[in-house]
Symmetry: C2
Subunit: 226 residues, 2 copies
Amino acid sequence: MAKLKSIGQINTKSLRERVLDSLRTAIITGELKPGETLVETDLASQFGVSRAPLREAINILNAEGLVETLPYHGTTVKKLARKDIEELYSVRSMMEGFAIQRIIDNGRASTVAEALRAICQKMLAAAEKDRLIEVNRIDRVFHDTIIANAQNQLLTSLWNNVTIRVQQVMSLRNQSKGDLQQITLNHLTIVAAIEAENVVEAVQLINDHIGSAGDLIVEGWEEPEP
Amino acid sequence: MAKLKSIGQINTKSLRERVLDSLRTAIITGELKPGETLVETDLASQFGVSRAPLREAINILNAEGLVETLPYHGTTVKKLARKDIEELYSVRSMMEGFAIQRIIDNGRASTVAEALRAICQKMLAAAEKDRLIEVNRIDRVFHDTIIANAQNQLLTSLWNNVTIRVQQVMSLRNQSKGDLQQITLNHLTIVAAIEAENVVEAVQLINDHIGSAGDLIVEGWEEPEP
DNA sequence: ATGCTGTAGACTGTCGACAATCGACAAAAA
DNA sequence: TTTTTGTCGATTGTCGACAGTCTACAGCAT
């Protein structure tokens, strides 16, 4: 068979998928703000599709918990109260702690620690240049790596759902996050605890780490009126 | 305004919701078995609705992870491999352990212990009569109560997703579960640890409890061919 | 004024029909 | 025979139109 190197996979995703991705991204990036309503007719004509695939996309966003639909009243982007964010970060903490325990129990501590250290190195480089966005991106990779190495698909899928909201929260509050280099160092202490296979300490450190990140976000968060 | 006691709320749920509930129940009870395919046209005429609400219901089941859809190839009930079940039970264990920690940290140990003890009493009564189904139902209430008292809505919604699959697994394997009375006693030791505010022990006990329940299910589980 | 009733407009919920895609098998080409 | 191409039937993906439901406001009666 002829192999044409200039030809790539053309986009075969269904309209539902494409609309879903667009909407999700819009919510995560804060382009669609909490409380804003999604009118099917408007969005459909905006995307140039009919209402059917658009409705299906909205249903999925509903199941993911990013929007809320009241029958015959329309769909709105879910509002984020302080309590929601606290819950978000404590659930996140639970998952990462569990993952670390799994990693150590499965004897993968040194392997994972190595991978994490490499990530930290990149983070440090970005931190030195004060590239906040880059640091955030690498930070996500760091935590994704921890979860992935628990080798538990169910955990991973729950995690994906949770991190979507974390990203949303962070973009609604493009925060300074304090001293970037200090943050990187915090990550390294976690890596060290994992490498030492010290479950209790590693879990403690990750709890503190996530907890203080959450506190920073929650600090001065404006409650939405109900 | 006149109050008519013989009049109740009539069912106003949308077709999508009703179809969704029916399908979900069918999957949970094992009426729809893993691997079975859901043909939109057939189901729609079976329910007496058009394909639109049916498709929306299927999309939600997809997001919940109960079914799998291949584009243009149809939807099938997700197969359950041994690994899936192990993951299910370990995630469940993580959640309950976290919930217990939260309950104790929030100083609600005695309140919750009291409620749990009452549930155990009912369980014991059902166990003495060897009413397996009843014991299972109360067992669910017991664990739901633990989660609910963590007072974390995000945790609760993740929990609901997880327990749906637990129910599915259990109905696919209408298990004996060993000695019913012994099980009830296990629950009581957990309650005692909570009441004593002994986080480490309570978490350890719940891990063992869930773990052994999972082992019983996994034991002799037939792997589905892929 | 106050409270009920009924319309209007906007939006969501549902439907039936049509288009697109796939696997399998038959037909044609090598 | 082996490989490629065309066609068919089944099923999903998408569309435009219509029906149902809600809120707000106007009109009417008290």
